[in-house]
C-alpha cells in the first residue's frame, strides 16, 4: 500500500468518461437556467417589468410594505426584493457592482465612510441622479451631505435615527429613578442607583463590532461638536485630529463607565443579541443603541411599552448636550441598469410624504420631512428638541475612507480589554483617517 487514494481505483477511461459526462451535465444545466431576467409575462399576456432590489435586513419591514403598495398602484411593475445581513450584502453587492450587473435598486449608505456609501458608489458613476424628483427639494440642509454629492442627489432615505440610551422603564422605576438624566453627573448617579439596586446599569454587546462605536458616537457630539460644529471640515482640511480633540474626553468617559463597573461583565464576549435580551428582560437597565433597533428590543420584551429612549447626556451643562442623529440606511437606483426609469419612478413613489411616513414608522425613525399625518415614535420624542440645532450626523458619514470605522471598532475592543491606551487608540484612528 503506497497511497490511500489508490484504493479508489478508476481506470483512465472511466475517469475521462466521468469528466466528459460532468461537463455535458454542466452545459445542460447552464443552458436550462438561461431565462429572461427582467421581463415576465403575466396571465393576460401583457409584459410587466421586474425590478430587482437588494437590501439589508433592516429594510425588510418598510420595503415589503411599500413594494406591495407600489405593486397595487402600478401593476405593470413587479418588485422582487432580497435581503441579507449588512456584511453579506456588502460582499455580494460590491461584487455585482464591480462586475457591471447591479440590481435595479439596491441599498446605499448615507454620506461617505463605508464601501457601500453614497459618495463611494456615486463617484464611480454607478448611481442614477435623482435630483429631478420633487421630494429631493425638501431635504433639510443639515442632511444634504448624506444625500448629495456635488449638488446632485443619489440617495433615498426616509429619515433619521438617533443614538441614545434604550432603557427599561420598569427597571428604572424599581430602582427609584423618576426621570431620565439630563447631565453627565446625573447619568452617573442613575447608573449608580441601578447598580445598587442589583441590576447591570448598562448592557454592552461589544463582541458585535458595530455596537462598540455607539457609546463614543453618543458622547462625541457633546464633547467635540458642541464646542466646534465645524470640526468635520477642519479635520478634512487636516487642521484637526482625533487625538487633539474632544474624542479623547469621550473615550475617557467611555472607560470611566467601565471602571465604575457600570457595564455587564465581559462586554467583549457579549453579543448584540445578548445585550438586547438583557435590557428587554430587565437584567440590565439600559443599552446605548441606535433607535433603528428599538423594534428588536420591543420584540424581546414581555411588554413592548416597557422600553423607551433618552438622549445620552455627554456634558455637565444640559445646554451643551448634543446628540447624534444620522440619516438611516437608504437606497439608490443603478445608473446603468436596464430599467433605470422604472427604478427611479419607484424611488419617486417612496419620496411621497405618506410613504416617507410609512417607512419611518416601521423603523421608529424621525421622518425626513413631516406633515400632519407623520407619526413620531414616543420613544424618540425626547430627542426632537435637539434635532433642530444640537444634532450632528453619525461621525463616519463624513469620514474620508472606509478604514476609520473598523479601526474605531477594534480600538474600542482593545480599550475594553485593557490592551491599549486612549492615546494609542486615537493615534491609530488618525492614521486610518489620513490613508
Amino acid at each position: 500500500m503506497t497511497d490511500l487514494l489508490h484504493h479508489a481505483r478508476v481506470s483512465r477511461g472511466q475517469f475521462l468518461r466521468m469528466m466528459g459526462g460532468l461537463a455535458a451535465a454542466t452545459l445542460a444545466t447552464t443552458a436550462c437556467s438561461t431565462r429572461p431576467e427582467t421581463t415576465a409575462t403575466t396571465g393576460g399576456g401583457g409584459a410587466t417589468t421586474e425590478l430587482k432590489f437588494i437590501g439589508v435586513a433592516d429594510q425588510k419591514a418598510p420595503m415589503d410594505e411599500l413594494a406591495a403598495a407600489y405593486g397595487k398602484a402600478t401593476p405593470a411593475v413587479r418588485l422582487t426584493a432580497s435581503y441579507a445581513p449588512t456584511d453579506q450584502v456588502q460582499t455580494s453587492l460590491r461584487t455585482q457592482l464591480g462586475a457591471g450587473n447591479a440590481p435595479d435598486l439596491h441599498v446605499v449608505y448615507p454620506g461617505n465612510g463605508s464601501a457601500m456609501s453614497m459618495t463611494q458608489i456615486a463617484q464611480a458613476g454607478l448611481l442614477a441622479d435623482l435630483s429631478a424628483q420633487a421630494w429631493t427639494k425638501t431635504i433639510p440642509a443639515g442632511f444634504k451631505p448624506a444625500f448629495q454629492l456635488e449638488g446632485k442627489t443619489y440617495l433615498y432615505s426616509a429619515g433619521s435615527s438617533v443614538i441614545g440610551a434604550v432603557y427599561n422603564k420598569k427597571v428604572f422605576q424599581q430602582a427609584g429613578i423618576d426621570a431620565p438624566p439630563t447631565t453627565w453627573s446625573e447619568f452617573l448617579a442613575v447608573c449608580d442607583k441601578l447598580k445598587k439596586a442589583g441590576v447591570t446599569p448598562i448592557a454592552l454587546g461589544a463582541q458585535t463590532p458595530w455596537v462598540t462605536q455607539l457609546i463614543t458616537y453618543a458622547l462625541v457630539p457633546s464633547t467635540v461638536y458642541a464646542k466646534d460644529p465645524t470640526f468635520d471640515d477642519k479635520q478634512l482640511a487636516g487642521q484637526a485630529t482625533f487625538a487633539g480633540s474632544g474624542w479623547h474626553q469621550a473615550l475617557e468617559m467611555y472607560l470611566e463607565l467601565q471602571k465604575r463597573g457600570y457595564f455587564n461583565d465581559k462586554p467583549n464576549g457579549t453579543t448584540f443579541e445578548q445585550q438586547t435580551a438583557m435590557v428587554a428582560t430587565g437584567k440590565a437597565g439600559m443599552a446605548v443603541q441606535v433607535s433603528a433597533v428599538l423594534p428588536d428590543f420591543r420584540k424581546a420584551a414581555a411588554s413592548p411599552d416597557d422600553l423607551s429612549m433618552f438622549p445620552l447626556p455627554g456634558a455637565d451643562d444640559a445646554a451643551q448636550v448634543w446628540i447624534p442623529a444620522g440619516v438611516v440606511v437608504g437606497l439608490g437606483a443603478a445608473a446603468k441598469g436596464r430599467n433605470v426609469e422604472q427604478a427611479k419612478a419607484f424611488i419617486d413613489f417612496l419620496g411621497r410624504q405618506e410613504n416617507i411616513n410609512a417607512w419611518a414608522k416601521a423603523i421608529a425613525a424621525i421622518p425626513l420631512t413631516q406633515d400632519a399625518s407623520s407619526t413620531i415614535d414616543p420613544a424618540v420624542q425626547s430627542f426632537l428638541p435637539f434635532t433642530k440645532d444640537r444634532a450632528v450626523p453619525f461621525m463616519d458619514q463624513r469620514w474620508p475612507n472606509a478604514e476609520v470605522q473598523p479601526v474605531h471598532f477594534a480600538v474600542v475592543q482593545e480599550l475594553l480589554a485593557g490592551d491599549s491606551t486612549i492615546d494609542e487608540a486615537l493615534k491609530k484612528m488618525d492614521e486610518a483617517y489620513r490613508k
Binding site: 500500500m1 490511500l4 484504493h7 460582499t91 457592482l97 464591480g98 464611480a124 463582541q207 473598523p406 475594553l416
Partner: protein
C-alpha cells in the same frame, strides 16, 4: 489491500493495443470538461492575479498599474503581518489537536464495539454542518455568563471570545470540534487497510497493544497521516468562515487571519488590488507549505 488490477497481468501485446486504440481518443472526450475547468477555474484565477499589481477599487473602471507597490504595502502593514502570526498559531493548533483527537477517535471506534457504527456517525456529524452555523452555535456555547454555555457546564468564568489572549484558542477549539470527525474518517480508512496478518505475526512475536501500535499500525497509517496533515494545514491557513462569524477578527485584531484581512481589504475598505495581492501571497504560501509537507511526509511512507 487492493488486488493487483487485471491490466498489469495482461501480456504485453494486449497492453500496447489498448494504448493505441483507446488512449488517444479518450483525451478528446475530456476536452469539454477541461474547457469548462479552464473557463471557470483557471482563467478567473490567472486573470485575478493581474489585479494584484493595480489599485482597482472593485467598482468602476478606474485602475492603474502600481507595480509591486501592493506587496511593499503588505510588508509594512502591521495588521496583515500580525494576522500572519495568528494564522500560523491557529494552523499549528488545529493541525496538532485535530489530528490527535481524530486519531484517538479513530482508534476508539475501530475496536469491536456494538455501538461503533452509531459513534462513527455521531463523531462525523459536525463535519456536515456549515462552518458558519457552527460558529453561531459556538457563540452561544462561548457565552461569557458564568451560568450559561460552556462556562455553566465547567463551572468556569472565562470570556472565551472576548478575551484577546483566549479568543484565538477558542476559535481553534471550535474548528477542532467540527473537523476532528473528518480526520477520524481518514484515519479509519487507513486502519482498515492494516493487514490482520501483520498484527497476528506481531502478537505471536509477543508484542503488546502499545508495541503493535508503535511498530505495525503507526507506520502503516503514514499515508492517512499525510493526507490529514495536508488537508488540515491548508484548512488552517485559509481559515475564514469560523473567524468571520465568531469574532470578525476581534477583539481588537486578536483573531485576524490572512483570510479575514484580505476579505476586509476588498469588501470593507474597497481595496481590491491590495486584497488580491494579499490573496496571491496567501495562495503561494499555502502551495509552498503543502509541497514541502507532502514531499517530507511521502518520504516516510512505507510500502507493505
Amino acid at each position: 489491500m487492493t488486488p493487483v488490477t487485471a491490466g498489469r497481468a495482461r501480456p504485453a501485446h494486449v497492453r500496447r493495443r489498448r494504448r493505441f486504440s483507446a488512449a488517444a481518443p479518450s483525451w478528446l472526450f475530456a476536452a469539454p470538461a477541461l474547457a469548462v475547468y479552464a473557463l471557470i477555474v483557471l482563467y478567473p484565477a490567472v486573470a485575478g492575479v493581474v489585479y494584484a499589481f493595480t489599485d482597482w477599487s472593485g467598482i468602476g473602471r478606474d485602475m492603474s498599474f502600481v507595480g509591486l507597490e501592493n506587496f511593499r504595502t503588505l510588508l509594512a502593514d502591521e495588521q496583515a503581518m500580525g494576522s500572519i502570526g495568528n494564522t500560523l498559531l491557529l494552523t499549528v493548533a488545529i493541525v496538532v489537536v485535530q489530528n490527535g483527537v481524530g486519531l484517538l477517535l479513530a482508534l476508539g471506534v475501530h475496536v469491536k464495539l456494538k455501538s461503533r457504527a452509531l459513534l462513527r456517525v455521531i463523531f462525523f456529524a459536525p463535519v456536515v454542518v456549515s462552518p458558519v452555523m457552527v460558529a453561531f452555535l459556538w457563540k452561544y456555547i462561548y457565552n461569557p455568563d458564568p451560568s450559561a454555555g460552556l462556562n455553566g457546564l465547567l463551572g468556569l468564568h472565562v470570556d472565551w471570545l472576548g478575551d484577546p489572549s483566549i479568543a484565538l484558542w477558542s476559535i481553534a477549539g471550535m474548528v477542532v470540534w467540527q473537523n476532528a470527525g473528518y480526520s477520524m474518517v481518514i484515519f479509519l480508512a487507513g486502519l482498515e487497510g492494516v493487514p490482520r496478518e501483520l498484527h497476528e505475526a506481531a502478537m505471536i512475536d509477543g508484542a503488546g497493544t502499545g508495541q503493535r501500535f508503535r511498530y505495525v499500525t503507526w507506520p502503516l497509517l503514514a499515508p492517512a497521516l499525510t493526507i490529514n496533515l495536508m488537508l488540515s494545514t491548508i484548512g488552517g491557513l485559509k481559515l475564514f468562515d469560523q473567524v468571520f462569524a465568531a469574532t470578525n477578527g476581534g477583539p481588537g485584531y486578536a483573531t485576524e487571519t490572512l483570510s479575514t484581512v484580505l476579505y476586509k481589504q476588498a469588501f470593507v475598505f474597497g481595496k481590491f488590488g491590495y486584497s488580491t495581492a494579499v490573496a496571491l501571497v496567501l495562495a503561494l504560501f499555502v502551495a509552498a507549505v503543502s509541497l514541502i509537507q507532502v514531499s517530507y511526509l511521502r518520504s516516510r511512507e512505507v510500502a507493505v
